[in-house]
């Protein structure tokens, strides 16, 4: 830009040059402060997790006796989920496997690769994701395909013959 302003700078004394650079420095400095004062809260506002005091609630998903040991069942249950400023009451599913008389695992219904809904292939005795053909064993382990980790699990508890599911998901 200097070539455009040459005619001006020829007339300037060293004193006015100092003043000009002071002005430029203040303009840049205050501009940066204003920009940062807007950008930093904006970034925190958009990127930080909301501070919600609403706790996840356990929900009653199934009677233990209705499940056969070793046979995965798709269990549909209702749960409350915090969705922004709302608490939505919605249907949710879990793939539940009763491992013995007292113990149960409940898998989150999304494939660990890209979140597609997988299903139990009764002939092949494994979980199959239709999107990119990942397969998982009944224990949730990856047998084939692009899935990066075993199936995610809901935290569960058995109470008085009932299977209770917490919305908290544990990643393997």
């Amino acid at each position: 830009m200097c070539d455009h302003t040459g005619f001006m700078e020829n007339q300037e004394t060293p004193q006015s040059t100092t003043r000009r650079s002071f002005y430029s420095a203040v303009i840049a400095g205050l501009g940066t402060v204003i920009g940062a004062a807007l950008a930093v809260p904006a970034a925190a506002y958009l990127l930080f997790k909301p501070k919600s005091d609403r706790k996840a609630q356990w929900v009653d998903a199934a009677e233990l006796n209705s499940l056969q040991v070793g046979k995965p069942e798709e269990v549909v249950f209702r749960r409350s989920r915090v969705d922004g400023w709302r608490v939505v009451n919605e249907k949710a599913t879990a793939w539940v496997v009763r491992t013995d008389q007292q113990n149960v695992v409940a898998y989150s219904p999304s494939c660990t690769h890209l979140g597609c809904a997988y299903h139990w292939d009764d002939a092949a005795k494994n979980f199959l994701c239709p999107c990119h053909t990942s397969t998982f064993s009944v224990e949730g382990k990856v047998l084939s395909g692009p899935a990066p980790r075993p199936l995610d699990r809901f935290v569960t508890r058995v109470d008085n013959g009932k299977l209770l599911i917490s919305p908290t998901i544990q990643k393997a």
């Binding site: 830009m1 203040v26 303009i27 004062a37 958009l46 400023w85 109470d159 008085n160 009932k162």
Partner: protein, 536 residues
């Protein structure tokens, strides 16, 4: 490397010479601090745009969700309170700087030929700024927003001939404020006004550049100076000071968020935003058929006069020191405005609702119906918890996990004889019915209250329920409306009054049909404390 890129950019777009052209504009020698306000006003608009977009990322513009989403922004999101504060106080500070900018232009006579069009576009920008204030006022959807907008739309509906059409345009057929009005106000606030503002600011700036910054008489024989860096420095310092005041207010001054809009709330005193208070006060001067003079005729005439200023005063430019007429007009306008505003503030009774009532987190037990809180008490009095423990496994199901699915008559039989060996229940039929309704229908708030309500409050609710106060009074949304609703009792009644009133209602409220209640001192203490602790 950088130079290569810049040269390329300059050659293909001319951007460097465009910036240079913009920065090295010739301005008169007299230009200085008094001319910084236009830049500050433009920056104020930019701040509103940035913070407005940020709010919109988490705001749901419907009456059902607006309030909850705004509350979520200010209470749960990091920086949300600050960003809303910047937007809220930014609006007020923008109006101040726009009015100061216009006053400066008026005082210096800078609207004179050939700058009439610049002045007129500026007047439109002032109206646009006020329109932002008017439409944005509704968007928090609290009582302040709702009732303020009811009054505004009613004023607009008085326009002779056009009234019903204006009302229809505002989506307020029949005077009600609902989803349609809300959608219209939101659309105007975020879809219509911002592009209009950008267009008008562009035209305003082009006109300023076309005619140049207004010189004074002394400037004629002085060399011109450049906009950059001296005037840009002054503009930046002024902008920074304005912004520092804004950030300080956003951090230190509470932004009001009242309770969610309640069209049945008859105790709320609607007041407009401070910059419209003078209009509100002026309305009081004109009564009956003259009301329209204060509400529409005078404001319209004032706006018309403002637009016509350059055509009314066509005299030659003189020094500001000799513009006594202009100085007198601005002084009188400021005094009149301040007087009306001060009068409006002084005559406003104290609000029955704290301005940040919506921000206080209210414990669940203060929000659920008394019957539900009483049922929690009966549940423990009936020893139900010995089998149905909360949050852990017991002989019976944990009722905090999911509501009971059993039919009501099964529950009543079960309560009377829960197990073959259990003793007969001490609870009355009325109390058992409350427990049956509670375990079958309890919501999330009830469960929260179940684990956290203080025992004294539960006892108070049990006295309230056993005495069947709900047959005549409404509390937390349930009960009949024969007597006055009891929410927020502590706002207007003292403890002694409430206790005396129980014993002799007619003595304290002449004409009351409420029968006297002779509680023992323990029950009287509990029910009084309970009632005084339920918020409005």
């Amino acid at each position: 490397m950088l130079k290569t890129i810049l040269d390329w950019l300059e050659e293909r777009t001319g951007i460097a010479s465009a910036i240079h052209h913009f920065l090295y504009e010739d301005i008169p020698d007299s230009a200085g601090w008094h001319q910084v306000l236009g830049s500050v006003a433009m920056f104020a608009f930019l701040t509103q745009a940035v913070t407005g977009v940020l709010l919109a990322f988490n705001y749901a513009p419907t009456p059902g969700d607006a309030y909850d989403s705004l509350r979520y922004i200010v209470t749960e999101l990091t920086g949300g309170r600050l960003i809303r504060g910047l937007h809220h106080w930014g609006a007020s500070l923008m109006i101040i700087v726009v009015v100061l900018h216009m006053s400066q232009v008026f005082l210096w006579g800078a609207y004179k030929k050939p700058r009439e069009a610049t002045w007129i576009v500026g007047c439109v920008l002032l109206l646009v700024t006020l329109a932002y204030g008017l439409t944005g006022y509704l968007l928090p959807w609290d009582n302040r927003a709702y009732w303020g907008t009811v009054v505004t739309t009613q004023i607009a509906s008085q326009a002779p001939g056009a009234g019903p059409y204006i009302l229809r345009l505002l989506g307020s057929e029949g005077g009600a404020i609902g989803v349609v009005t809300f959608a219209r106000f939101y659309a105007v606030h975020v879809l219509l006004l911002p592009p209009l503002t950008m267009l008008l600011i562009s035209v305003h700036l082009i006109l300023v550049r076309k005619h140049g910054v207004t010189p004074t008489l002394d400037d004629q024989d002085k060399p011109k100076k450049k906009f950059y860096p001296e005037q840009v420095f002054k503009d930046t310092v002024a902008t920074f000071l304005w912004f520092a005041v804004l950030v300080g207010m956003a951090i230190l001054v509470k932004v009001p968020l009242g309770r969610t809009a309640d069209p049945t709330d008859i105790s709320f005193i609607p007041r407009p935003e401070w910059y419209f208070l003078f209009l509100f006060q002026m309305l009081k001067v004109f009564e009956g058929p003259l009301e329209i003079v204060g509400s529409l005729v005078l404001p319209t005439l004032a706006i018309l006069t403002l637009f016509l200023v350059p055509f009314i005063d066509r005299a030659k430019l003189i020094s500001i020191r000799r513009r006594t007429g202009a100085i007198a007009i601005v002084t009188l306008a400021a005094l009149g405005w301040a007087g009306l505003t001060a009068r409006a503030v002084a005559t406003t009774p104290p609000s029955t609702e704290s301005p940040d009532a919506g921000l206080a987190s209210v414990e669940a037990w203060r929000m659920i119906p008394a019957e539900n809180l009483a049922a929690i008490g009966y549940f423990s009095k009936g020893n139900c918890g010995s089998c149905h423990a909360l949050g852990k496994s017991g002989t019976g199901p944990d009722l905090s996990v999911s509501p009971s699915q059993k039919p009501a008559d099964w529950l009543m039989t079960h309560f009377r004889q829960p197990a073959p060996t259990s003793p007969a229940t001490q609870l009355t039929g009325l109390q058992l019915k409350a427990v049956a309704a509670f375990v079958a229908k309890r919501g999330d708030k009830d469960v929260e209250a179940w684990t956290s309500a203080p025992p004294a409050a539960v006892e108070g609710a049990m006295v309230y329920h056993t005495s069947q106060c709900g047959m005549c009074h409404e509390l937390n949304g349930t009960g009949q409306k024969v007597g006055p609703p009891l929410n927020g009792l502590s706002d207007h009644r003292a403890r002694e009054w409430v206790q005396g009133h129980f014993a002799e209602p007619a003595k304290f409220s002449p004409g009351s049909t409420m029968p006297p209640y002779k509680f023992n001192s323990h029950d009287l203490d509990r029910i009084t404390s309970y009632l005084l602790e339920i918020p409005k």
